[in-house]
């Protein structure tokens, strides 16, 4: 009883202890703010990448892609736990927009209608639809209903021939969805997207290099080009992705890359033999049914993929892989994850200062309270009891400082965007620029389990800081302590 009474009294009346309490509070708040913002950033990244992918990805680390995908798709779609499976073609190329913008881009060929069509439960393959400015974001912003599925269809009210008078095929060109930043689509200071006037009157020429499995050098291949009309802009909020991505119809890109089924003649032992190279794709994205065991589906898909691939191209290197979506994005997510770990570690190191401060201040208090320790021992307090006072004191500093730190962190994280805006307004300092950063807003949620762990560590640190002073107090000889001046 005397321990808690003295801890309470010392905590209230020894103001020097407030310094260590403030140190614990600031360290707790600092670590929690960093983890919350970095963790929130990572979660947003994950969610965005997740939203742009299926649950499972079948791919091959080669621009030449892999054959037999139609057969694979047929068998994968027949698996009971698979909701949908869609092929993609990915490559790199040059884009020339109206002879004004020329950039190297990552090109994805996809069946955008299939990707954005709801299934019988109203679920779409992923959230690619939500990234489309004209076909989703703008109607939503204007309070209108967006189309149920997205498409590469040309806009009906544009006379495309007028914008390419010398092109007899102008009105029959396919559509292209470009990454917003590529055409100068930006967010204003409040994070709202600013439309690009006249965007849909612009054509884009894509130059790609067909790469087959026997590709040796660029000199042996002829680049193929195609003209598209810009029909939409993609704003996934992943700036790095949007800044260099374009999307075109699957069949068009597959054809331009000569990844459709090819027949050719090969002279074998003096005889011309008609050979067929199967159609190829770069990826198969698979969406599994809710509640399905993903690892089991990966195993089932793997079997299908390896069987077919092995029959078509035995010993294919690199092989076709079947992986969960996050593994395929590991290099992006891993970088952010490592950054979070590193920053947390660095701030954790700074927090050692709190332990040291608790140690110094409690040591000072023990010295200052030497006579009190003697008094307590004279009335029968044991050495363990005296140690308990100072360990409890450290614990109380940890609890109060940690709780105050959690509160402070919660307030700062919760209002971080407002604080940031005020800083920008008053001081002209803008750290998080929505025009540049992947996300409009700084992540502002505190994860309760993380907060609980940090709170626990804060208490543990304060108790650790109190161990040596408590031991010193316990070892004091009562008579020497009573005579201390």
């Amino acid at each position: 009883m005397y321990k808690s009474l003295l801890i309470f009294k010392y905590l209230r009346k020894r103001r020097i202890a407030w310094v260590s309490l403030i140190a614990v509070m600031l360290c707790t708040a600092m670590v929690l703010i960093v983890i919350s913002v970095m963790g929130g950033w990572l979660e947003m990244f994950k969610a965005k990448f997740r939203g742009m992918s299926g649950d499972i990805v079948v791919y091959r680390s080669s621009l030449s892609g892999f054959g037999g995908y139609e057969q694979m798709l047929e068998q994968i779609r027949a698996l009971p736990d698979v909701d949908a499976a869609l092929p993609l073609v990915r490559t790199f190329g040059l884009i020339n927009i109206d002879n004004q913008i020329i950039e190297g881009v990552q090109i994805t060929g996809l069946d955008v209608t299939a990707f954005t069509r709801p299934n019988k439960d109203g679920q779409r393959f992923n959230s690619f639809r939500e990234s489309l400015w004209r076909q989703y974001q703008k109607p939503v912003q204007d309070g209108q209903k967006p189309p149920a599925t997205a498409s590469f269809d040309l806009l009906p009210d544009i006379d495309y021939s007028a914008y390419r008078p010398n092109d007899p095929q102008a009105a029959n060109r396919p559509g292209i969805i470009v990454g917003g930043p590529l055409v100068g689509m930006k967010k204003d200071s409040s994070g709202h997207t600013v439309d690009v006037p006249g965007l849909y009157y612009h054509w884009a020429r894509l130059e790609v290099v067909p790469v087959s499995s026997d590709f040796r050098t660029l000199r042996d291949v002829t680049p193929s080009s195609n003209i598209y009309w810009i029909v939409d802009a993609s704003q996934t909020q992943l700036y790095q992705l949007d800044a260099n991505s374009v999307y075109v119809p699957f069949e068009v890109l597959q054809k331009d890359l000569q990844m459709t089924e090819q027949t050719y003649t090969e002279n074998i032992q003096g005889k011309d033999v008609q050979m067929t190279q199967p159609a190829r794709c770069s990826e198969i994205q698979i969406k599994i049914k809710p509640g399905a065991n993903r690892d089991k589906v990966i195993g089932d898909v793997g079997k299908i993929v390896y069987d077919i691939s092995d029959k078509l191209q035995p010993g294919l290197f690199p092989p076709v892989r079947v992986e969960p979506w996050e593994q395929q994005q590991a290099k992006f997510l891993g970088a952010v994850e490592h950054e979070k770990t590193l920053v947390t570690f660095l701030f954790g190191l700074i927090s050692i200062v709190a332990i040291f401060l608790v140690f110094c201040i409690l040591y000072m208090i023990v010295v200052e309270k030497t006579r009190d320790i003697g008094i307590l021992k004279s009335v029968g307090a044991t050495s363990q009891g005296v140690a308990g006072i100072f360990l409890g004191y450290g614990f109380a500093i940890g609890v109060v400082g940690g709780a105050a730190g959690l509160g402070l962190a919660w307030v700062i994280v919760h209002w971080i965007n407002q604080i940031h805006d005020t800083m920008a307004h008053v001081l002209g300092v803008k750290i998080w620029d929505p025009e540049t950063y992947a996300f409009d807003k700084i992540p502002n949620t505190v994860d309760p389990p993380t907060a609980a762990v940090i709170f626990g560590v804060a208490i543990l640190s304060a108790v650790l800081g109190a161990v040596v002073p408590a031991m010193r107090a316990a070892r004091l000889n009562p008579v020497e302590a009573l005579r201390f001046e």
């Binding site: 009883m1 003295l6 009294k9 009190d372 004279s378 029968g380 307090a381 044991t382 050495s383």
Partner: protein, 237 residues
């Protein structure tokens, strides 16, 4: 050598205590024999440096001798563990010091109750809280301190502080009350009042062992043991 008592409550035999001061050794007690009977008021008198406070500390197991034996109620105190000695200090002994030694953060009532708080577990203390509080208030009242229950030591005079120290020492109804120069820091009048309090306690049967350098104060005890150069001189009263 002190009187041989029939039924001593506390006694020591051949106590020696040596302190190291750098390379030198200071022999403060050189084989002291002492005993006090239950209900006796004994004064240990001696000049400054004679070892009287050291003897009191050893008898109260606040310190450990280099040699000798201390027994309380027939038990050899030096054979007890540190925790058991703490228990003896808490339950059977009470201390009053020259400089009062009150805890500055606690008020008068809390200072008085601290010995009871040490004695009982949290649960037991909560159960007995009202009774203990009543006892502490009654004790403070009998010492004329009832009007100062919620004052802190810094707000009290020397005499008042010493009364609180006495109330704290008596809280667990000790078998032996040790008083180390209880009037040493007080003016003559206040010192006289404190001695009056001790005499009153003695009349109620309290065993008191008091250390003083003041012969006049010592004479108020039943018996005076004089310490000189670390050894007991023949009885004077």
């Amino acid at each position: 050598m002190s009187n041989a008592l029939n039924n001593p409550i506390i006694q020591c035999h051949g106590l020696t205590r040596t302190f190291k001061m750098g390379d030198a050794e200071v022999h403060v007690l050189k084989g002291v024999d002492f005993e006090a009977a239950a209900g006796e008021f004994v004064a240990i008198e001696g000049r400054s440096g004679s070892g009287k406070s050291t003897l009191l500390h050893l008898l109260g197991v606040l310190d450990e001798p280099n040699d000798g034996r201390i027994s309380f109620d027939g038990r050899d105190l030096l054979k007890l563990s540190a925790t058991e000695r703490s228990k003896v200090r808490n339950e059977s002994f009470g201390f009053v010091f020259q400089f009062y030694h009150l805890l500055p953060e606690l008020n008068v009532l809390e200072n008085t109750l601290v010995a009871a708080m040490v004695r009982y577990s949290r649960g037991e203390y909560r159960k007995r809280k009202a009774e203990l509080r009543q006892q502490a208030v009654a004790s403070l009242d009998s010492l004329g301190m009832a009007h100062r229950l919620h004052h802190r030591p810094a707000q009290l005079s020397g005499g008042e502080r010493q009364r609180v120290a006495i109330a704290r020492a008596l809280m667990n109804r000790p078998r032996v009350l040790f008083a180390d120069e209880p009037t040493g820091n007080l003016d003559a009048e206040t010192g006289g009042q404190i001695m009056g309090v001790l005499e009153g306690l003695h009349r109620q049967g309290q065993t008191i062992i008091m250390v003083t350098h003041d012969r006049a104060i010592a004479k108020q005890a039943d018996r005076v043991v004089v310490l000189r150069n670390g050894a007991v001189e023949p009885e004077m009263v």
